[in-house]
């Protein structure tokens, strides 16, 4: 019941005709859109918290975990609500090609992220500077979100940001 209601609301939200089921986005598109939305909101929330901390607004450090949970919620939502339809053909050679290109985009994004994470601290703090070791797992989580974000965007762009539009 909750699943059906959520699906209906979500499909209406993403601007697709809820009457004609064939015009719905496919599973990969829905998952990607969910991830893009949640990671974007998580990133925005993180930036807001960093800015608030910069201006010495009293925020406990544990609050910084909230944007991470928020961004990660996209994956959980996708797994729970967008299940595979085993009764129909849900992927073919085009979907595999899109997935392959998206994986490449994700890999490229992580590569860039690692380059930036390696050189930015030197640029900001200088060669004699030091950073806490707790930054290492943060960078790992950051790289994972970076990969998911780039991959999701690549999927949405390749599908054309829409569902199976067209006339029968």
């Amino acid at each position: 019941m909750i699943y059906l209601t959520f699906s209906k609301v979500y499909n209406t939200f993403i601007g697709l005709n809820s009457v004609n089921k064939e015009n719905f986005m496919n599973r990969a598109q829905k998952m990607s859109l969910t991830l893009v939305i949640t990671i974007s909101l998580g990133l925005f929330l993180g930036i807001v918290l960093v800015v608030m901390r910069f201006f010495n607004v009293g925020i406990p450090k544990t609050v910084f975990l909230f944007p991470i949970f928020f961004a990660g919620s996209g994956g959980i939502i996708s797994l729970i609500f967008f299940r595979k339809d085993k009764s129909a053909i849900t992927s073919d050679e085009r979907d595999k090609l899109i997935e392959k290109n998206a994986n490449l985009a994700g890999f490229g994004a992580v590569y860039l992220f690692v380059i930036l994470a390696s050189f930015l601290p030197i640029g900001i703090m200088g060669q004699k500077g030091s950073i806490p070791v707790t930054w290492c797992p943060v960078l790992l989580v950051g790289a994972a979100f970076c990969q998911a974000y780039a991959q999701s965007l690549a999927i949405l762009i390749q599908y054309g940001w829409g569902g199976g539009h067209g006339k029968s």
Binding site: E22, N26, I89, T90, S91, D92, E93, R94, D95, L97, I98, Q158, Y159, G160, G163, G164, H165, G166, K167, S168
Partner: protein, 76 residues
Amino acid sequence: MANRELSNNIRRLRFENGEMTQQQLADKVGVTRQTIIAIEAGKYAPSLPLAFRIARVFNVTVEQVFQYSSIGLQGT
């Protein structure tokens, strides 16, 4: 994935074959409807096996379904 050199007659062939819907064609060749839409619109160039499967559905040759234009290669 877009292929401007490759045009096709799938839409015409579908209507000449009992007004076949995109979903019916997709089911016959084993792909999703989205892929048929992308092929018809020239946004996706199908693999050779898929091109043959589409041609077989309409009982025609691949050349009768897909046309390759060399003009696009010259950029004119």
